[in-house]
Point group: C2
Chain length 744, copies 2
Amino acid sequence: MAKIADQYLLIHPWKIIEDGFHPDHSEVSESLFSLANEHQGVRGYFEEGYSGNQLIGVYLNGIYEEKFTESTSYKGISNRLAFMVNTVNWLYTRIELDGETLDLAKSKFTSFSRELDFRSGEYKREFVWETASGKKLRLVFLRLLSMEHKELACQQIRLTPLNFSGKVNLTSGLDFSVPHRMYGQNFWNCPRRAPGMLLGISQSIHQRLFAGMKVKGSTPISALEDEKFTAIHFEVDVQNNQESVIEKTVILQSDRNPQQSLEKAWEKGMTLLQTTDQHYAEVLEANKVYWAAFWAKSDITIEGDPENQQGIRFCIFQMQQTYRGVVPGANIGAKGLTGEAYNGNAFWDTETYCLPFYLFSNPEAAKSLIEFRYKTLPQAMTRAKDLDCAGACFPVATSDGTESCTLWQHASLQFQTTTAVAYAIWHYVIITGDTDFLRSKGIELLVQICRFLASRGQWSAKGKFGFYAVMGPDEFQMMVNNNAYTNYMAKRTFEYTLQVLEGADLSAVGCSPSEISEWCHMAEEMYIPYDPQTGLYEQHEGFFNLPHIDVDSIPMEDFPLYSHWSYDRIYRNDMIKQPDVLMFMFLYNQSFSQAEKLVNYLYYEPRCIHESSLSPSVHSILAEELGRYQEAFDFFRFATRIDLDNYNRNSAEGIHTTSIAAAWMNIVYGFGGMRSDGEVLSISPSIPLQWKSYRFQIVYRGSVIKVEVDKSKVSIQVIEGPVVQLKIFGKLYKLDQRGISVKI
Amino acid sequence: MAKIADQYLLIHPWKIIEDGFHPDHSEVSESLFSLANEHQGVRGYFEEGYSGNQLIGVYLNGIYEEKFTESTSYKGISNRLAFMVNTVNWLYTRIELDGETLDLAKSKFTSFSRELDFRSGEYKREFVWETASGKKLRLVFLRLLSMEHKELACQQIRLTPLNFSGKVNLTSGLDFSVPHRMYGQNFWNCPRRAPGMLLGISQSIHQRLFAGMKVKGSTPISALEDEKFTAIHFEVDVQNNQESVIEKTVILQSDRNPQQSLEKAWEKGMTLLQTTDQHYAEVLEANKVYWAAFWAKSDITIEGDPENQQGIRFCIFQMQQTYRGVVPGANIGAKGLTGEAYNGNAFWDTETYCLPFYLFSNPEAAKSLIEFRYKTLPQAMTRAKDLDCAGACFPVATSDGTESCTLWQHASLQFQTTTAVAYAIWHYVIITGDTDFLRSKGIELLVQICRFLASRGQWSAKGKFGFYAVMGPDEFQMMVNNNAYTNYMAKRTFEYTLQVLEGADLSAVGCSPSEISEWCHMAEEMYIPYDPQTGLYEQHEGFFNLPHIDVDSIPMEDFPLYSHWSYDRIYRNDMIKQPDVLMFMFLYNQSFSQAEKLVNYLYYEPRCIHESSLSPSVHSILAEELGRYQEAFDFFRFATRIDLDNYNRNSAEGIHTTSIAAAWMNIVYGFGGMRSDGEVLSISPSIPLQWKSYRFQIVYRGSVIKVEVDKSKVSIQVIEGPVVQLKIFGKLYKLDQRGISVKI
């Protein structure tokens, strides 16, 4: 996996810092310096206007639009694309001095730096502007999203003249006319408007978004208005070597209900704007308190590896910004709230890669993710019908529960979301013990999922059950039969459901005994392609007979293959994009022996080109377990700094949420050796050669557990909460606040 | 195969006749009553205007437009659609009497009948119009396309008042504003116009089409003009019980060259129009002479089966109308020149299904079809590059040699056109002995085809060569490995090419010895999935393990499956749309034993749902060979009358050119037992129970051979030309004009 770092930010344990402006990386920086609080997100763009490359992106969780692609006449092929839509540029600012408008693509400036602090969520940018007329003005731009009041966003601009006194023209506004870049158009109308306030209505879904601002620090001169725009113009009196401060407080209040009356939407926003009177400094203070509490519970420290220390904290910070379970019905987009790529849709990544982070830091948030699927069960049942099946088929990509992937070969053939929902229920329940959820919503989901699987699968001539014409998670093998991942996950789904249904009142859940015995038979006779001679699972029937390609022989300039190879060429050989077999060996880790894992790792790893950012972490975790430490570390490094080092050269489009979630797993599951796929949590840490020590914390059964690993030992301790049982290196311990140390 | 006839035309050995108007079938009739002369085609629509369902369709061979579908970012996925474009309504007529405009959807009329005569290509329609004012006017509409002067089209209208004398208003025009129905728009501009003349330029390809008319029989009153329209208005003086005749002579002269100057295109058309002075009766006479000569060479007679007698003559007549080798660069669209379906594109059907008819009636026309591929070799080489391959890949669907199939799963995975071109060369050369063609163009095509196959195929781990991620002709198994048809055809293509190259000057054809030895190795090690225990060829690797579906259990209302089933559902089982294995057993018939054919027929026939109209004929021919006479006859009946009985309920879209070509094969190869896949032509006839006798004629090695079969014997005789050698029931004969009779 020859990925090359493209590093331009400074290393710091708690910050990302850009020292001097890197215009070639300006959109990458926009992604990296993004702020979010789950409700809203804003890219790190230059608010004063910038004529260079720029994606002014402000996204709200659950605010999406829809688009219909050219229709095909075939049933089950979805032609509706839902996408998280770009909203209002609430940071809109223009600054003019001596008739010159500030624009870092054109203006002369020095001493540029910017940083984002993970301990406050504050993004600060500063530089000295030198006008053509010779004036020097020091500018500091600060912004914050409140973690406490999710609708609240703050901006502060500090102006300090270094060689003059006079007037600076400053315009501060709200702009709903920003285009959605990917579709080259703006999707908003503003039926109500007042100075400093706009009510936006999205054009296809008709969701409401109120944006209102208060600007303090100078006297307004005039108001500006346009169809989708409102602003106030100031002449700021600045005195030489004195700092003037302009503060803008913004409310972004969304209402997803397209039936909501405009009057009411407007009033709710207005009221919130009027009653919000925090100053920037207060919001900053509150944010610091919030993040301190968070880090106390969820920090990971690494001694002896500043790059990965920064990397993993960036990952954790971004995870928490993206999703934390405070917005009802929220999910996690593939780019979080930092860009338009993947249309802001959620994938199976949520259950498979992101869920563990929340399970072990914020179980309520984890539960809300599963509840997203419960709420969208009706859409999943409609989708199953579209595919001529029963039960519920969960979408490959979605914003609102409907299938939003318009490539039929993915949407109609991939079922990993559906089995991932069942896996998530199981995982959530064994970790939290929340059987109430299981008995209420979980069981209903499981039954509908099994119904789908039973109707989509088929019996072979040889009397084995399996799935035909499918695509596994590995998207480089398109339409195959008996994909090992699909079949194995379906088998486990049937088995778990049957176990849950044991002794349950079948009529209450609407199951017939014959249905149960059918599922039982399907689970027993599920075909998992396997060669007992070699111990190899076959990724799908016929995989072992495919022509072999040496993936290392593919020239670097051919990557990404989707952009350089004929589309079908990808499917002509035994190359894989991500490892289906290793994936289920990770998910049900303790069901497989070390020997089985090793032989399969050795076979599949060299065939994997990791064109998916989901792939390296799973390899890293298994490599560590198999004692292949250097490989494990290399894969880890890639996942942890995928965005900071722009490994895939596409971080400009937004951060790789799944990969950063997986980076967390890399430390906790990989080096920490945690295994959560059993009745008892188990930990078997090792430590990378490069590190002196590392520490992580997890929330488990109501306790916060600290795990510290150094070269000689692991120390595990409950730092908050009751005694918990867990296995360390396979041995069962009762753990309390005194802690335990075990040699490694 | 439960297909049900929908018969409403009368049976006649040389005509199709509609007695009384069937408005529910009006568009089916338009297709069936189509006229064509290869250069131009016109549907049997009502020229006087009709407010019921109507597709005014006038198509010219090689006159097409292009359209780009929503682009995908993947290489090798074609997003350009070329389509034969609807052109000018040259039959435009309006008739008014006492202020009432004739419209068979609204007017009162009696004694309607129409017929199309295969011996003249004349289409005649007549009825008596009764106006609201009580007048009765007998109308006869005649039309003809000249087989001699391909640009010439004629219309005649006869008016006979039955109870009055007076004036009938008649308008006769040329109308370029007709929309192309499938894309709901008109694709023409008319930069030059004069009374009775228009020069059309197609909007995307910019081909030129001159349309000019002369109308005789009455005195013009006024001219009408519009942007894309020209017409002349007449007041026809009609006398009670006397026939008045209006004659319209039209020139449709096309110029495919988009660079052609408008001036020149106009002049060429004008000149042709001015110098054309034939009357309708003269053109009719010439057409009768043409068709008499044609039938003398190419007729098939059946005694004892009037329905199929009519059916097969209709098929032969339509084949000859559609294509006869007089228009340079012409090919055969899936609907001929009778409708817009399949975009008028040519498919592998040309080489595989249509070519034999021409090989045995008009070898020069057969050669022209192969030359179409030769002319489009550059496009096929570009296409191969798009697919990351070498050599030439011929398109699945095409108007101009570029790939015009925008469904990637077909365009990128199906290679039956490419191997069909090689097969066609081989077939043409063994039948005609035209080694000049082989040595000039054939060899160049073969080399580029082999290059493509060598680069697209791959070596398996087991050291066998084959094709991965492909779709065979059977489109119900989408992305498979080692499709038996693809592999077998590739093997034979390599073998034939190597045989042709034997002793040739390799450097002259640009081949290296290592390339030759590579092809040799590939041919030898080609993997043809086969089970020696059962004698079954496996359609592709893994086919035998697919879940079985009883195709007879699928409810009738589910058909066509593409419209009623979830798209991917079609691919989940062992159902096939058409028989790949039986197909290559038909093409290389003498390479397989009867026993092999039988076991494979018995296995694949029950799995085939014949959703392709290509399928029944191949089954019929093999069934006859295997002594399964009733099955053979049932399949034959379907192919022969597919349009006359509207079996697929879609003849309104145009005739099924491939199926009607296959109907000819059904008689000649099926009942006639002709085999042309060997060095010597071989004939082993049988006769269906229902028939008294039948007779067909073929052109072979410069001779016309008549084959007559009755219940007891086959009589074969050269009726024109030199002595020929052929096998009858496996025994070699020298055949001359005295003929031979053999007992059957």
